[in-house]
Symmetry: C2
Subunit: 361 residues, 2 copies
């Protein structure tokens, strides 16, 4: 077996100089004659030496302050996962000088978002990660950060035109398309299908419109429109009585509804209501491995959950910023995370398995 590793020591021996000299050449720290430098560089090339970026960063003392502008998980538990992912990445990357400051806002209160975004901007961080859930209100901040030359990464919600260094999340269109396949595969016979948007102001939430479009296009592209009638509904839990009335109305007036596609993480709300009404024949497909959803997945009331990997979104966001700031690497403009199909039978692999949630860089 051959040792394929080239070390600074090997280069120094071959060049007949000290390892310190090789190190000075590699880091361009001067005090090396032009002649020696050329000789060392030639040997480095000959021996195919790959300077180790990680080892180099470990030796640096620079601190990078990253700001995370994220919704409060105490208001909507979906946001617990990205926060945990951000904190895990911070821990992993601490050794390279990464420090994250969190700015938490209420996802149902635009003013709270603006206050936190203003504070963040004042603190002038080295990089920003955020989920721009308020489309209109976020736009002016993008302009400020661009003017201040602060790189930012988006997760969960994509706003391509604001030019982030990267977006990490799901391909919403394709994810709706996949949901169409899963519903149609389980319902070979003609029937009605309901798309339910829950708890979102649709006109300000671009990703939900894309999901609906992908879902509808699955049926259109596979020439299945004559077999399936697709209905849609917008529900909001802020008025629980209205929520139930609206849901009951559509279910009772359309007896052949076989499946409901819930475009947000609130599939458990539909499952709970159907359970209370003892309705068992309607299949549900939704998003996200939150405890309430997993409860109904486990009971068989929800057939499939598509995993948006919110923990991975936060984790990867910090990694992308680190690649950009610390390692000066080029970062992909879009990083779509896999559309994991989760059932009762494979859910354990996607819940709380750190290896699964944090994909490798």
């Amino acid at each position: 077996m051959k040792n394929k590793i080239v070390r600074i020591k090997d280069i120094a021996e071959k060049a007949k100089v000290s390892t310190g000299t090789v190190d000075r050449v590699l880091h361009k720290r001067g005090r090396v004659s032009k002649k020696v430098e050329e000789k060392v560089l030639k040997i480095i090339e000959e021996m195919d030496y790959e300077p180790n970026l990680m080892a180099r960063a470990l030796g640096s003392n620079k601190i990078y302050q990253i700001a995370a502008l994220i919704p409060d998980h105490k208001t909507d538990s979906y946001w617990y996962a990205p926060k945990a992912g951000i904190e895990k990445a911070e821990k992993d990357l601490k050794q390279y000088g990464i420090v994250v400051q969190q700015y938490i806002f209420n996802p149902y209160d635009v003013e709270s978002f603006i206050t936190q975004a203003n504070q963040l901007t004042k603190d002038n961080p080295d990089g920003i990660i955020l989920s721009p859930i308020f489309y209109r209100e976020t736009l002016p901040f993008f302009e400020k950060w661009k003017a201040a030359e602060i790189p930012f990464v988006l997760f969960n919600t994509q706003i391509a035109e604001c030019e982030p260094i990267s977006y990490i999340g799901q391909d919403s269109y394709q994810s709706g398309f996949l949901a169409g396949k899963l519903i149609q595969y389980g319902q070979p016979d003609p029937c009605s299908i309901l798309i339910a948007h829950i708890d979102e102001e649709i006109s300000n939430a671009a990703h939900l419109l894309k999901k609906e479009q992908g879902f509808r296009n699955y049926f259109a592209q596979n020439n299945l429109e004559h077999q399936y009638k697709i209905l849609r509904i917008e529900l909001n839990r802020s008025n629980p009585a209205l929520f139930i009335t609206q849901l009951d109305d559509v279910i009772d007036s359309t007896p052949d509804i076989s499946s409901i596609f819930v475009t947000t993480s609130k599939a458990h709300e539909i499952a709970r209501h159907l359970e209370q009404r003892h309705i068992k024949h309607i299949k549900i497909i939704g998003y996200d491995l939150m405890p309430a959803n997993l409860h109904f997945l486990n009971k068989g009331a929800i057939s499939f959950l598509i995993n948006q990997n919110p923990k991975g979104q936060g984790y990867w966001g910090i990694y992308q910023l680190t690649d950009h700031l610390v390692f000066k690497k080029e970062v992909p403009i879009i990083k779509y995370l896999p559309l994991d199909i989760v059932t009762k039978e494979n859910m354990n692999y996607y819940v709380d398995d750190e290896d699964t949630i944090y994909l490798n860089i």
Copy 2:
């Protein structure tokens, strides 16, 4: 924002000694008075300093020779992926002194396996990774390696009683159970379902029996046995005429077969034959994202593939050995990889996406 990172420099300053002294204490390299050592260790504890294992390994010059005993991908292309995973891990871990030597055998020739295993044993590596596809013939080698105190890791096929330091692969039982769910979800009405084992000597292939058992138990545990009749067949492509006759016999004699569950990576063989016969109503579920399978997944002839992540198996095997040999970490005895459900609509996320295939450590 607070700098949460404790560096050797900080410890040295607080202890009023040089960084060299701190380094000598950390690496137990002597030449430090007992009194100074105690003082430094106390400050290290107070400041909650975490010595960086990676940084420490980077400074070592030790080479670890790992032997990979793997089937020849030119004989069965399934084995290309684990080989690629092993090579990717070797490249990533080169900097820590990991060197991998491959011992390639013919998966259809026991003698070739024994020859390579003997050669490997003679070479006395620091660690071994293998897929023990020949159960009986591998047992004596486990004894030899244990006597020589060489740690070994298994992938793809689990043999718990041989006491490897780790097994990396799929939970075969659960994977069959999941296949049962996917087939039943798509076939609400009573029908016959065929389990097809292709190209394996079943009695010597424990993982296929476990898959079948999991599949059957899905129906038993959900009280669905009265609705579905489950048939089984063992096919072998070494005699192509017989392969087709046997397959046609079971299809023609059981007109209500709605689905075929192929327990190996050979679902494409069934798909191809059904296509030639213009049979479109039979749904197929199989394993592995090989080009031939993806071709039929894309055409809609295969409904689902369960990804066994063979590339990740090889990759993780080398990582487990590295954790054991280089970082002296405790390694989990079993590392089950996720049961990824792959359809035409989400396949792109699982094919050739390095981030997806190589889960993070």
